[in-house]
């Protein structure tokens, strides 16, 4: 009986803490992402080689930004349950979505005066435990070419 109680507490407490904290953090992060995306809507950012805005490019520079995210304990347990039966790891979808959008937003904030970003690329690097037994966190690294036009079009 005590062993059962110990098991329930050993797993239950971190799961509940992870779930509550993770939900609060995720909601807050999404609010921040949505507000900032709205604010940065005027800076076109594409993966293509050519700018979507016509004009004389006065200056271009490489810009980069990264973000590292880790799943909460609830997400981790939910994902490992998922690995038993297979299928979409739904618990991690929002996590990676947030990480990618956060990286692109940081990229835009790094070149606040630019008129456009082309050649956007996203790199994903999992961070493993020292003994490679599991993923600790994921780094999303965004980079691209920031363009500054000689005669910027009216915003």
């Amino acid at each position: 009986m005590e062993q059962l109680l110990f098991l329930v507490l050993f797993w239950g407490v971190p799961i509940v803490v992870g779930y509550v904290c993770g939900r609060i953090g995720e909601k807050r992060h999404y609010r921040s992402i949505q507000a900032r995306e709205k604010a940065w809507l005027h800076l076109p950012t594409t993966a293509g080689r050519f700018p979507v805005t016509a004009g004389q490019v006065a200056r271009s520079e490489l810009v980069s930004a990264g973000t590292v995210v880790s799943a909460d304990f609830f997400k981790r347990v939910a994902a490992s349950l998922r690995t038993v039966i297979g299928g979409p790891v739904k618990s991690h979808e929002s996590l990676l979505d947030r990480a990618k959008r956060e990286a692109v937003l940081r990229l835009k904030e790094r070149c606040a005066g630019a008129h456009e970003i082309v050649n956007l690329r996203l790199e994903t690097t999992p961070l493993f435990k020292a003994d490679s037994s599991g993923v600790v966190a994921v780094e999303i690294f965004a980079y691209g070419t920031a363009l500054y036009f000689a005669d910027p079009p009216p915003a």
Binding site: Y19, L41, L81, I85
Partner: protein
Amino acid sequence: MKYTPSLPEHNDNVTQEHPLKDFLLILGALAALALLVFFLLGLLIDAVVDRMEPGAEAALTRIVAANMPAGPARPDPRQAQLQALVDSLRPCIALAGPAQVRLTDSTTPNAMVVPGGTMVVFSGLLQHVKSENGLAFVLAHELAHLAHRDHLRALGRGIVLYGLAALVTGDNSALAGVLHCRYGHVGGATEFFTALRGKHGSGFPGSHYVASHPAMDARIAALHAAMVSNGMQQGPVRAFAVAQ
């Protein structure tokens, strides 16, 4: 084509389901599966144990025999006394394998069987019985565990659920039959239970007899009822003096 910046209305990359739904669904399904496998394995082991040949049981007994610590240099006379009593009960119980008594110093009034046909008797038990008949009833209970191959069933189910398997041999009226066979009457059958109840109330925490067996009062009542319905008579009990 003109580029028109806009924010996506829906985020199709992220599930809109509640995160708990997926978690609880998978957890529930896996837990149900684990329980089912455990239950089926238990049935399978019971079926195998029931059909096992005495030769196979003996071979298995040798493999799983508990590695008992070496006994005292001078054999305990009480242990020899218990062994003699156990041996005298054997004709009354269908037991194919060995039944080796080991006496352990402990105040707990208890006894148990371990794989390998070893019956561990705690010396506290000797203080809780007054007559040889009362002691024989407890030893017959342990012999019944051996005869029912509960130690082998316990190997399959894991020790946690040993209690469930042991409930099967909670049938004390059969044990009263062993007493009747050995002594010609069932006097002393309820002695141990009455002693336990008198000393510790109706429950004795931590004891194997309470943890995995019916409550003391209910057990005494059931035993009396069974003995009456089987027409078993109470008789004078033999006094039990612990060997020195």
